[in-house]
Assembly symmetry: C2
Homo-oligomer: 396 residues x 2
Amino acid sequence: MNYPFLQSEMKAEIALRFEKVRAEMATAGIDALLVASSTNQFYLSACVFRGYILVTPDRDPVWFMVPPSYAPEDTLNAATIHKPEMIPGWMLEKGYPVPVKVGLEFDDLLYSEITRLKALFPESEIVDGSKPLRAARMIKTDYEIEKMREDGMHQARSYSKVAACFQSGMTDLELQIEVERVLRLEGCLGYLRAAGSRMELNLGSVISGENADAPSPYDFAMGGAGVDPSLPVGADGTTIKPGTTVMLDMNGGFNGYQSDMTRTWYLESVSELARKAHECSRSILRELERIAIPGTPISNLYNRAVEMAEAEGLSELFMGHRSKAKFIGHGIGIELNEQPVVMARNHQPLQKNMTIALEPKFVIPHVGAVGVENTYRVTDHGLENLTVFPEELQEL
Amino acid sequence: MNYPFLQSEMKAEIALRFEKVRAEMATAGIDALLVASSTNQFYLSACVFRGYILVTPDRDPVWFMVPPSYAPEDTLNAATIHKPEMIPGWMLEKGYPVPVKVGLEFDDLLYSEITRLKALFPESEIVDGSKPLRAARMIKTDYEIEKMREDGMHQARSYSKVAACFQSGMTDLELQIEVERVLRLEGCLGYLRAAGSRMELNLGSVISGENADAPSPYDFAMGGAGVDPSLPVGADGTTIKPGTTVMLDMNGGFNGYQSDMTRTWYLESVSELARKAHECSRSILRELERIAIPGTPISNLYNRAVEMAEAEGLSELFMGHRSKAKFIGHGIGIELNEQPVVMARNHQPLQKNMTIALEPKFVIPHVGAVGVENTYRVTDHGLENLTVFPEELQEL
């Protein structure tokens, strides 16, 4: 088994992440954080294994490995266990004090999983450990940004082949399937890691024509009816018609991190209203790229986007028509939906090296969705785009 | 929005499922079950929506819809709410007694989600609602079995194109990508619904050669190193070599239900040991198809499979080599991993219309994995195969 956290070239990077997590633990008064979710395992180890990571303020982190994952013999601070109930005994034996406040991942693990882990620490107060981990993950390291830049490059290369995937008479779903193949051949892992229960999706969202105005029960910015009531989102299987748009928002996960990028195509022709709304989306992105510097309240981005749509008389179509999303962007990294959420009530200041996907989109009834989404890094001088690819409405 | 539970042709089917759930609630003494997970929503509504379903012993079930999902105006027993905190007030207004024992989905929802829902019922005892729902789902209705038969047919049609997908010099991953496309064009939804945290996968598992002996931290029967440490399972990206096998265990979800089917191919030639183990897998299936009748303890299936592998001198290779799975099959339906688990310590009797995937597999060092997996229905006379497709080792 391959454990990147043991490789010398990753050690400084992993140590940096632990420092960030420890700082958040200190703020929350947590003196033991037990990490079990694959998302946070990957953050702290650069791999997914079967087991747990124990983070404490003063000692080296400990990897508890459950077979078939195992701890290489020469690994300091790793232990093989057969069940998490062996952790307290190990801690006692190594002279750890009983923790006062234990953090467990309330937002990442099932109720039954947390209940089992809680019982390991009967004398401790148990608090939410998801928040400090999310807060640490919100600000990316240079290494993480490089990974996301790599994702953006692969995603752009895939998107450059979309028009070649199209054949006259195709349905939205048939086009999606060909683009999925292109993405997979480009190295897309084909798995969407997302937080929470309301993000079910296959390899992406392709919406065209009327289907753009079909609301979905999921927490995505755009809807779509889907092709089956068990997965009501995205492509609905209808033929792509002349005069309609096709918006592609496909999976950008190639290396454990993700980029999120949307571009819009049209077949044969497209209405002036759709063109105008698409250009408004681009203008909003240009404006947000400029004003989004460290210290800017995140709500300013949302409010400015809403203002600009309004100034163009496009409010009714902004972020949906029959049903509207209440955000225009979201943090992104290992998970598609990380902190911060770019919405009106998030007054948190932007920080350097946050990575956010901004997706000011419009739904034009009878035409389809238009707009652009890019994944950005916050720099001292505004946003750096990690998903560089032409933004114009493109003909299929 | 499309609500199948309102369609007259689905009403009897949905009513039947509620009866099954109510019977399990009665056994567990639960007088109010609040369902929120998409899996159980789909079971009780044949669709996924944003909201909750309230099941009580005596009254009609109630659908609480959260926008953009909505309750059609003429729907009896449906209500639009904006947050779950509105449910207790609604119940009070309609004259519901305060429930004594409330079931919530401990095994399906995040800790934070259950914590929020628990607070709605401060005067009630809160117990696990996942178990009664799983128990009800374990025995399929005729309608559900028909859906799974449909899945098996689509999956078989896809598998019939595997050899045509192969080109000399391909990697396991390249072959997988072409098969994914075939599956998607056949109607595969491209989304794996599975229970628990240890089932991350893209559209399937393709393992070939040495990679069959690489353990994975996930709860799948077979391993594989994967191509990235963020998703360590399945294809590892190496070229398929003459003399090795390629085992395909791809996604069989076409309609909200799933079938699970594995077949094995080889390139140019394959060792006698691999042929023998493959035939042993088939013999095990034939034997289990015969002995698996209602009343048979499930552990008998496991033990008989282990015995037969042993009688052929293949114990060391059965269900893995360096790392071994401790089950040879599992229930399947809406989720890939349902009840019952076919393992030594499950002495539960088989029941008619359980649906189980049986996968007696072998790992042959330096050659790859061999064996067959079928999805079956338990009938009075043994198992009915829902995944009818040639089982022989096939040449690529």
